[in-house]
Symmetry: C2
């Protein structure tokens, strides 16, 4: 199954969290789980789980629960992990280092072709077999390679200098850690922005609200 038809974006946005829990259960060798048990572990309601899983045909059997390998496979397909996307990373500061070393790109269907950085002291460093390249060589690289995704780990002020080159070489998909508003400049792009500090702001609010109770 694993069609996207009829699955709302709010369900899709819950899939990564399901996937993390399902993967952990799979790694522990668990083969089946009831919606009740999964609800307990994930701290959501069992009816929410049943409703969400029904969307992609992950029907549990009364008394048997859900098959973990089936759920894992269906969520992988829905999230597109089986279709590989060639990606490049721009920026290898602390953030680029953290992202390149912490994220298992292959496991999520991304093939990291190269990392580009301006700071000479970082050029030549190795990340899982990929040598950090001089950003000056990016135009030549893009003539010979056709990545479809760019991961932007550079400051907002630097994005404007490199974005036109990326876009004009055909890159329309961005994982954006900068605060640069790509969508405002290029409308036919797919962008996921990561604003780490947003969740710190929410934490601040929740601490204050609790104080007020």
């Amino acid at each position: 199954m694993a069609k996207n038809d009829g699955i709302s974006m709010s369900v899709i946005r819950r899939l990564p969290r399901y996937y993390r829990f399902i993967l952990e259960l799979d790694e522990k060798g668990v083969e089946r789980i009831s919606s009740k048990k999964l609800a307990e572990i994930m701290n959501v309601t069992a009816s929410q789980i049943r409703q969400d899983f029904n969307c992609f045909g992950g029907f549990g059997q009364q008394g048997y629960g859900y098959s973990i390998p089936f759920l894992k496979e269906e969520i992988r397909k829905l999230l597109g992990f089986d279709d590989f996307n060639d990606a490049i990373m721009i920026g290898f500061g602390n953030l680029g280092k953290a992202v390149s070393r912490h994220i298992d790109f292959n496991a999520m269907g991304f093939n990291l072709l190269g990392i580009f950085e301006k700071d000479e002291s970082k050029i030549g460093m190795d990340v899982n077999g990929i040598k950090v390249s001089d950003q000056k060589d990016l135009p030549l690289f893009l003539e010979n390679n056709k990545p479809t995704v760019a991961i932007l780990c550079l400051p907002k002020a630097s994005v404007g200098n490199v974005l036109p080159l990326l876009y004009e070489s055909g890159i329309k998909n961005y994982w954006n850690f900068s605060h640069y508003d790509i969508a405002r400049v290029y409308h036919d792009t797919i962008i996921e922005n990561v604003h780490m500090q947003d969740s710190l702001m929410i934490l601040s609010h929740r601490i204050k609200s609790k104080d007020n109770i």
Copy 2:
């Protein structure tokens, strides 16, 4: 105003994004903006903005729009930026480095008291005037200091070793970059988890869905 009463969590979760745009306008010296113009910049509907801002008394005036300094101040209060929280960071690997150097804790009402790390090669490094301390010294530090927030930038497998110490010293608020499920162990905690790869999974899905259209 800036009470939390009656403001739904879904509005609260949109505040960080509003705050980023409002701050940028404020820094540019913009004093007033219409919901229509702000909606354009933020790529949301004007009616959503009016509805959200009404929740906290940020009424715009017909023909005058919203006051940027007023909005900034009200959102700051709602997000609790005026109440300072003492925080410590555990883990100074690539992720800890990126977080400690990229996030302006003070601007969001957090006072970073210390950074703790096991790796001797990193102990003594300086981050905006804070020296990275040996994690061995954490128990003594917690006897003499009472931070209320811990920022966890260490691997999931290491969290279990340090979490009981943090919790028993009275830390109930966590900004958690590990995949350790704190809420499952301690129920009376406030936790914001950051799962960077979740948005990469959504990007993968969106790229695939577009391909299918």
